[in-house]
Symmetry: C2
Subunit: 356 residues, 2 copies
């Protein structure tokens, strides 16, 4: 297997984006008055190379789950057993992501990307683990480069398979006790920011544990040496769910469908994907701004504007799922709104229009 | 008719809000990790006096439309004819608010609160006008106090009637060429802020027209004298749609249902309602932060946190409609999420829980 995924040769449809901009100017509203929804409509048109862009009808949330050796360093008060228990909760429909996916009309697919405790087979569970627990990044690599590459490839293949089954919008999610630690480590390595600037309280840890978490990330960065290839950074400091999410983003570009990314874990995966192939940013929609500082750093680094800012810090894809109606709305506006001349609505005279 | 609406004697259910907080702590997620959605769930419980709160199943957007004499001062480049034309567009389903309402599963009701050009009867159009054009606020009151009171009462009655027909969530919207001018005037009068701090570019006017708009509002404030009773401010400086929206907010409190308010025009109405009865704030959800500076001033003055911030400046209720899924989600989480003990998910030990 190629360690570095081949760059996608897909070119996004800038002509379709420009057509969406002109279309918006004909719709019965002041020019630009739908704000960021107009930009989002243009992005959707560019992704599909089609204007108006297709309205996403079958969104799915892909929740990648993994366990982390670094939990042994005491970076979280939660026991690792919770990862597998929460996967069962996802499969039974009782977690927050299930409720929010139902609300927005999305399905949920769970990926076992390295959960420590074996899970029973389930039609909504893809078992793609290449190992059952990552290495403790303070002392050893999380994954080998080959394992990381395999998980990224799995992520890409998941999107191809979902697309073949009619899925037209991906939202990314994660589950993994302790996984804000590797996410912050990956973000620190790929952005060059100080670990303190990208490390937060995760599920809500106290000052003492936060200091331990920062020290653990510093130790991991010292151990792994100067950042090099993004795939090597992912292997040294990341985790299974981060790798699969990076693959989902690359896969969305392959398939030319939008991918809504969630909080800090998904953004770590997005940063890996964008480091491997900057063209991925064309298909990425940032679902929300998490309270985790690393999330803000990635959004800023990649120039992504989040659709929501509700102080969420749960993960699972919750902040991505909540953004689905906004993405669908951006596409529908270009399909369903009347134009000035059709609707018999007076527009500005040319002079006034040019002034405003 | 009483000029000042009687204060509602409804007391919101603080016990239900507290029950929602305790309920959230038992759900399978870290405490507080759903951020503002948890507060919103508590608010919905308090509104209904019930925990879990009812899930809004039949939301409706009420779009109040009116024409404004102050357009004669040149505050907007759009002709007044557009108000009636856009009302027809609403009734035919081609406007942005129709698309967004469909996306979020809401119906649309249009209220003629003083449109200049007579409108044909339509089952979704309530003709509640008390006059067909407001006075030019630079030179005369927009409405008499009796007219303003009648329109507020109409707004309250609309909510009572909708509630009787099963509607359980109101979103407010507006249409009226020139109506950011009276909205900014009302906001300046009721907050004591300088007109320049609460006046924006509306549909996108240039610097010259913005200066004229500010000067017009200053003239209106001088003419109407020191602000007194909120109903008198509404009559002197407001408009039909602002009055109806104030009534919708008061009516939502009467009926103990949530009301999602839109941008600067809706917030001017909300400010009037809150000035008449501060208890209304208990039922108000701010849909979004409009780019209009007056909107930000009202949100800050009333302590409202907007759910969205997408640079919208269209009105019609668009920013309120887009927030409907978030409100519904906040209620559904309290109905549908599993609790730790039910789901067999380990929780923190008491010590760790107390620390985090």
């Amino acid at each position: 297997m190629n360690a570095r995924p081949a760059e996608s040769s897909v070119t996004l449809g800038e002509a379709a984006r420009e057509a969406a901009r002109r279309h918006h100017a004909r719709l019965t509203k002041p020019v630009g008055s739908l704000g960021f929804l107009e930009e989002l409509g243009g992005q959707l048109a560019a992704i599909a190379g089609q204007e108006p862009p297709p309205v996403p009808r079958r969104p799915t949330v892909v929740v990648a789950a993994c366990d982390h050796g670094v939990v042994d360093e005491g970076v979280t008060p939660w026991p690792r057993s919770v990862t597998a228990q929460m996967v069962r909760n996802f499969l039974e429909g009782g977690a927050a992501i299930n409720v929010l996916a139902r609300e927005v009309g999305a399905s949920v697919v769970v990926v076992d990307a390295g959960v420590e405790h074996p899970l029973p087979p389930h039609p909504s569970l893809l078992d793609l683990h290449v190992r059952r627990l990552t290495g403790n990044i303070a002392r050893e690599p999380a994954l080998t480069v080959d394992e990381a590459a395999a998980l990224v490839a799995h992520g890409r293949a998941i999107v191809a398979s979902l697309r073949a089954n009619g899925i037209d919008l991906i939202a990314t999610g994660d589950m993994g006790i302790g996984n804000t630690t590797p996410s912050s480590a990956v973000i620190a390595a790929l952005t060059g920011r100080d670990p303190r600037a990208v490390t937060g309280r995760g599920t809500g840890i106290d000052d003492e544990r936060l200091a331990r978490k920062v020290a653990t990330i510093e130790q991991a960065l010292r151990r792994s040496g100067p950042p090099s290839d993004p795939l090597r950074v992912l292997a040294e400091l990341g985790g299974g769910e981060i790798a699969v999410i990076a693959g989902l983003v690359l896969g969305a570009l392959d398939q030319r469908i939008p991918v809504i990314v969630d909080g800090v874990i998904s953004l770590a995966g997005t940063l890996v994907a964008a480091s491997l192939n900057p063209a991925t940013l064309g298909v990425v929609v940032a679902g929300h701004r998490s309270v985790e500082p690393g999330a803000g750093v990635v959004l800023e680094t990649l120039g992504l504007r989040p659709l929501l800012d509700l102080d969420l810090r749960l993960g699972e894809g919750t902040g991505a799922a909540l953004a689905v109606p906004l993405v669908r709305a951006a596409a529908r506006l270009l399909h369903e709104m009347a134009e000035f001349d059709q609707a018999g609505v007076d527009t500005l005279d040319a002079g006034a229009s040019a002034r405003s």
